[in-house]
């Protein structure tokens, strides 16, 4: 039976849900490009599947992962990392990637090898990179878990990123000696 009260409740929820939903959709469109943990689904699928429990953050042995706060509501409580601060160390020395093993939702999908990871891709800023400016430096190449594959040096000792090989762990961004870093990971979409 449609009582007055029930009608008002339904009306309020429909209006509230509509306005709130529209606002959230706008917020989602404006959401920042965060660097997600390894194995993360493409951003939109990730935002849908992640239940914001923080288990991956607690599982990370390097304290790499952080939970996003409410600068953007859509991303609130989702895990991300700032590679310049702490990059993804790929759980070296462990049998598995801890964050993926901890995820109960499949928002982080298991990978067979490191090479399958596609967090992002490193981009070199040739205007500030020491090697590209003529001073010998190969800090990123040294740090890269796939030297001569993901980061290769050309005949003049300058670093180049192979986008098909780079997994986006951000170890290079962390290792770069310039400030700000001359190599940075752009999240893959």
């Amino acid at each position: 039976m449609l009582t007055r009260r029930r009608f008002l409740t339904t009306l309020a929820l429909t209006l509230g849900g509509g306005v709130g939903g529209f606002w959230l959709r706008q917020d989602k469109a404006r959401a920042p490009n965060l660097l997600r943990p390894p194995g993360a689904l493409p951003e939109n699928d990730f935002l849908a599947a992640c239940i914001r429990c923080g288990l991956c953050v607690e599982a990370c042995p390097y304290h790499t992962l952080k939970l996003a706060d409410a600068t953007h509501l859509t991303a609130l409580g989702t895990p991300y990392l700032v590679a310049r601060v702490v990059p993804c160390r790929l759980c070296q020395g462990y049998a598995e990637l801890k964050c993926i093993a901890a995820c109960p939702t499949g928002a982080l999908r298991p990978v067979k090898t490191w090479r399958e990871i596609r967090m992002g891709v490193a981009v070199i800023n040739r205007d500030t990179c020491l090697a590209w400016q003529g001073t010998p430096c190969r800090a990123c190449w040294h740090a890269c878990p796939f030297p001569n594959e993901a980061i290769v040096l050309d005949e003049r000792g300058r670093a180049l990123v192979d986008e098909t090989k780079c997994i986006g762990c951000g170890i290079c961004e962390n290792a770069c000696v310039t400030e700000p870093s001359s190599i940075g990971v752009t999240p893959r979409q």
């Binding site: 009260r5 409740t9 709130g20 429990c53 109960p104």
Partner: protein, 295 residues
Amino acid sequence: MKDKRPRRLDRWTLAHRATAILFLALLFLGHFDWFPFFKGSAAATRALNVLAFADPLAALEAMLASRQVTLSLLIAAGLLIVLYAFLGRAFCSWLCPLGLLLELNNELRTRVNRFLRQRKLALPTVHLPRHTKYALLITFLMLSFLLQLPVFQIVSPINALARSVVFGPEAGLVLVGVIVAAEYVAPRAWCRALCPLGALYSVIGRYAPVRVQIDQAREQAGKQCGLCTRSCPMGIEVLAEHIQKGKAAIDDPECTRCGMCIDGCPRASLHLGVRLGLSSVRAAHLLEMDNSMWR
């Protein structure tokens, strides 16, 4: 009016509050590397590094939002669904961090109100309809599907509170604060009338065999003092269905099995027990009603 009965130990009240505090303490400890036994927050937890539990609403929303069924999530939520199909809405009083906070908040409200009454003042009291939370649940599920986001997990004050305890304060605490403040005007409105998670647990635990049972002989020897109803945090009229229909247990889906009615009863007429199926009207009671008709 001053309560004259001697103070007894409120066993169930203490027990469920202690359990909720323990749960929160475990979540807090889980944040540290040296405590690998229990990790997570309100939306999902993992015990002993293996066994994962997922909030059924979070799982439902995530699957609606991503529009696919995830087996691991189904298992993690399934464990809790089975548990609460047996225990009813027990999560709300025994584990929920927000439930704990609001229960303690309500104790404070009661004292504030008593203080005000002595000065011939009173807090206004607003009652929201209980079914609002079911409408909210449906709204959140539809929004999750349409926006492809687990919407309640994003705005949930339960998640915000749990994550704030585990990972440090976050912006969602504002909503928690708003609810805490609002409950001085609308007592226990969140748990009673608004919480979609509580609504889902009410549905899951509709036929839960663990229920507060009524000892008929003792109840009838008593005076129907109504202290059980007064002590119920969910505002259930505890004995109403027993008196009207002769039911031998509290069948109300809102019951969180907190046991505060048991503690409140001066004659120990109530206890928590197991009974399969909703309690039916007792034949003896019908007979009694029949007799009374002729009197």
